[in-house]
Symmetry: D3
Amino acid sequence: MRILIANVNTTEAMTETIRAQAAAVASPGTEVIGLTPDIGPESVEGNFESYLAAVAVMDAVVRYDGAYDAVIQAGYGEHGREGLQELLDVPVVDITEAAAQIAMLIGRSYSVVTTLDRAVPQIEDRLMLAGLSARCASVRASGLAVLELEEDPDRAVDAIVEQAVQAVTEDRAEVICLGCGGMAGLDRKVAAATGVPIVDGVAAAVQLAESLVRLGLSTSKIRTYAAPRPKSVAGWPIGPRT
Amino acid sequence: MRILIANVNTTEAMTETIRAQAAAVASPGTEVIGLTPDIGPESVEGNFESYLAAVAVMDAVVRYDGAYDAVIQAGYGEHGREGLQELLDVPVVDITEAAAQIAMLIGRSYSVVTTLDRAVPQIEDRLMLAGLSARCASVRASGLAVLELEEDPDRAVDAIVEQAVQAVTEDRAEVICLGCGGMAGLDRKVAAATGVPIVDGVAAAVQLAESLVRLGLSTSKIRTYAAPRPKSVAGWPIGPRT
Amino acid sequence: MRILIANVNTTEAMTETIRAQAAAVASPGTEVIGLTPDIGPESVEGNFESYLAAVAVMDAVVRYDGAYDAVIQAGYGEHGREGLQELLDVPVVDITEAAAQIAMLIGRSYSVVTTLDRAVPQIEDRLMLAGLSARCASVRASGLAVLELEEDPDRAVDAIVEQAVQAVTEDRAEVICLGCGGMAGLDRKVAAATGVPIVDGVAAAVQLAESLVRLGLSTSKIRTYAAPRPKSVAGWPIGPRT
Amino acid sequence: MRILIANVNTTEAMTETIRAQAAAVASPGTEVIGLTPDIGPESVEGNFESYLAAVAVMDAVVRYDGAYDAVIQAGYGEHGREGLQELLDVPVVDITEAAAQIAMLIGRSYSVVTTLDRAVPQIEDRLMLAGLSARCASVRASGLAVLELEEDPDRAVDAIVEQAVQAVTEDRAEVICLGCGGMAGLDRKVAAATGVPIVDGVAAAVQLAESLVRLGLSTSKIRTYAAPRPKSVAGWPIGPRT
Amino acid sequence: MRILIANVNTTEAMTETIRAQAAAVASPGTEVIGLTPDIGPESVEGNFESYLAAVAVMDAVVRYDGAYDAVIQAGYGEHGREGLQELLDVPVVDITEAAAQIAMLIGRSYSVVTTLDRAVPQIEDRLMLAGLSARCASVRASGLAVLELEEDPDRAVDAIVEQAVQAVTEDRAEVICLGCGGMAGLDRKVAAATGVPIVDGVAAAVQLAESLVRLGLSTSKIRTYAAPRPKSVAGWPIGPRT
Amino acid sequence: MRILIANVNTTEAMTETIRAQAAAVASPGTEVIGLTPDIGPESVEGNFESYLAAVAVMDAVVRYDGAYDAVIQAGYGEHGREGLQELLDVPVVDITEAAAQIAMLIGRSYSVVTTLDRAVPQIEDRLMLAGLSARCASVRASGLAVLELEEDPDRAVDAIVEQAVQAVTEDRAEVICLGCGGMAGLDRKVAAATGVPIVDGVAAAVQLAESLVRLGLSTSKIRTYAAPRPKSVAGWPIGPRT
């Protein structure tokens, strides 16, 4: 099985972090391929950047000429999953939703600890759209920007742990989701510090993508995610910028 | 006052229809400027196209070098309004939300009659995200594609009336919103045939955009719609395609 | 255009404050007429008083023999708008709902800062009934009675600012609505102190009433707001008390 | 125990029907006193009439000089209960809410069958405000005006049964509430025809009023239903019209 | 009238406390019979114990060979009421739901103060299933285990009062429900200390059970609570353990 | 990996059907062990039977003395999963929830097609409790009893297809979940007849159970699903009946 995992920003080092995290939890025989968009921001923080990233991911995926059995979009709370589902016949899994689903299997309620305060509304909205917010206790911000996570992992763990503890005690969360693709790999450290299960979205998405492939299931094409109608689309795909 | 009204597709004739409808209801002294994206589909039907259109509208707006006091995004149920709100200091009004708000002022519940069946979930989702779905009785599809509206307005009126009547009798709607930017101008015909108030989103958006400007109000920049953080954004703006 | 703006209490000085605020934001050519009920409380605080005020406003409006194009009910969280919509053919705008709608156009969530604690549930209920509560972050009380607002505007601003700041930081509101007709005119002071957009319900209602008139739209009469059926109504209108 | 049951309209024959129904189910030792407002419509159908009736009931109750232990407001879906709760120290029970509560004890979901189509939104709104709509399957109109119920009880039963059957089969209701004070006494006939339990609001309210009195409980005065503040209230009480 | 009130645990002293509380509020002529399950935990705290208790209560009830007119299940937030409704033709009242209903008649919102923190989610879930959570302000834990209530009533009152006060001031509850069958009899003490009405579930349930019997109403058998289909059920009833 | 899959009824043939379906989709190296309760009904249809089955499954699991890495409860819409989560340290997956989660990954909304009409409310309630109902379009009954599925699979497919088609066209479902453990293995036939993805809960649960084990995650013990407190539990475990 081959899983294409798309980073949502243009920072290749983060793509590699995500790919490695995915590969580490993939089953034997599953190959994980990392994909970095050619256009868009170096980190995705806010709606403008998220919309641009959504299109950049679609652009990169449609221009990718290898074979794959499933696609994972590795941005937390970002736009775009629905578009990929229209464009592709293989399953598409968003890490925000994957983490929430896994969390709901192991606790009555979950919280998400993410990066900046401005990411909170986007994550809340994506969970609401996915129908996964009923058991979401809270979405909390650690105050760290996406790229700061890479620069100082220890500080990241501290900031995440602080919010995770508050989510458990004040918001009554029973499971914590790490709310950023760039947090991949921090789950064990945060679990040790908080005593509750920690879900990493990338790892969760790999399991769910593999599950869909094994079940022989993919996106329903009956209505919402039907393939785009044939028509003139100016400037598409956007392609590499020189 | 100058209002920039952005079509979401690349069909210039539709931009002109929308602009003319907006100008017809604008107050004396308000200038309405139509804007057509350089990239994207000739009509927007589905999530892939809608995401691309969202970015195309942002691209066109940031590259527009004239002055304006407010922006209207004239796509029904389309993505992108949040991104424009981040990028701009002037108010941004989406026709989907404008129509719903005006409808809620004049009836206990409203329905939207749109184009294709696949547009229904997107409109439902946008209304939910905007917090305007509690009094939405239904979103119904006329079965007409966006471009068919322009080609055969009489057939369009018939198809819209049929769904509007069902919305009133079966779904208990008391007001009907015309759920497509391309339906601008059909409101009086549909009202005559159904006996309930009909809200055209473009006209509604012009009134609300003017209202915000007169009130001296614009988007709150405190959290969700704060300006993008300074960073490297590859390939932005996308610019004209040659 | 002539807009009839009805105070909900019998304090004529407050009617004049409200009328002046409305006139200040009305478009050139719009005449604003203040209306004071003949019966009811000197200020409206609580359900008994609100129900009485609702009937008093209807009574005053049906006995008013001038012409008008729209009616604004200038009580925050008060009963009665639905009754006026049945009795009249022109649009009716409630300031509670107008403020919420304008707020939702410029921020992801809004809070209301009102007078006494006992007003909070009524405002919450009116927003719920109007379908406008999904993006309401909170309704907060400043602790000031309605008539205290007039007596000591500086103290009013301080108390409102304190709650507004908490709404923004704790409840994550991005816009604040001034939750009392008697707060008209305080918006600029509170905005300066808080840094978020402040919506005055009276000003918002004037814009929306003008919008409806310009759009040629009024209340749907198909079901909920159909005119009252012909029947014997004892003691109606109540008329002036001597 | 003495229970004051207030009709919401000025039709004394209907007051007597309601009073008799209440007395028939009251416990031995409970005296039921009927009260008819002096002002307001002969039947209450719509918001204007309902608001007027709300005030008329409050007016009649505060002018009633006898002793009583509880008050029942016998209008289905009508305004006003909150105002009575503020004015009185004894418990106040609304028949709409009483019927819904009893229904929820004996079935997973319930429907209300009421009079005219225009009454449906009001009943839905009152149930929502009371927090009782989660298990409400539907509110259906029989098409009969309030006064027609008295004139032709057989036709009333037929029309109610037709809607009740549809509520059970199509809306999956398991209990039916008779949605009009004037339907008091029809419960057994409708039950025989439908095979599901039928709840009469008047009878339900008598039981709940007696329950509250026996439990020594009455309205919480801590916030929403605190007594009105001392102030000048013009023209109150309204008093008898001559 | 004879009411069978089932304790959910096997502690006979608690059955007697509950029975006495029920008898104290029952009408003259109502006999209250206490029932203790033969199997299950000495106190019910958590889902495993609650499921076992649900079956234990059903087992005890079906093996009880006396006559009765209604059954009360006297566990707060426990499973099982739906099963009893299927097995029996007489009304079944759960004390969790009874308390919530009575509370909603006398205040705009209510809170529940229960025993251990782990009981909170179960109570929330039962209220949600019963459609009674819309006006639930909060469910709070006093931190006392069920059996500690019996051992040290004074400490119990203190712990309950502390949470009740916070529910009123922070969660804006206007009525407090005592969230444990073992709290029966503490209502007056807590009311004196808090100033808001206190609802004891056992007392509330007795009133509602009597109400249903007087109204001649019992569980609808049309769908959800139809009698079990005839079939082989191994090991049922479970019977006394020796 | 060893997965224990518990049938909820005492029909061993159905246990074998379920076990075989699970084994067919399990990964190489995963052993699936079927478990049949000693007590309870031959098929589970309704709340009484479901509560008894919940306890019977817990009883069988705690008495099972083999090793296992995860437990699947293979009853659709049945009670009990929360209790197992308290009793066990390994992950517990309910097929109702597993099917819904997988369905939500591949379509915007899903419907469940189950057996008898009386199963519908239970499934709706379990989905609501699990926080998975926001994207549930409907739960529909085929009208077949559980044991009829085994007796006449062709008739079962026809009845399921009929409801599935209505769910897709009328309720706008995009994915169908087979709502009975006994429907295991019918998914391909129903998919062929309807053209939308069909999710079998047993297969879905196997994937999710394996996913949790691979991720090293299990139930959070912080609050709701903490292990039962040490105490006297009469008659537990219930043990085999002779």
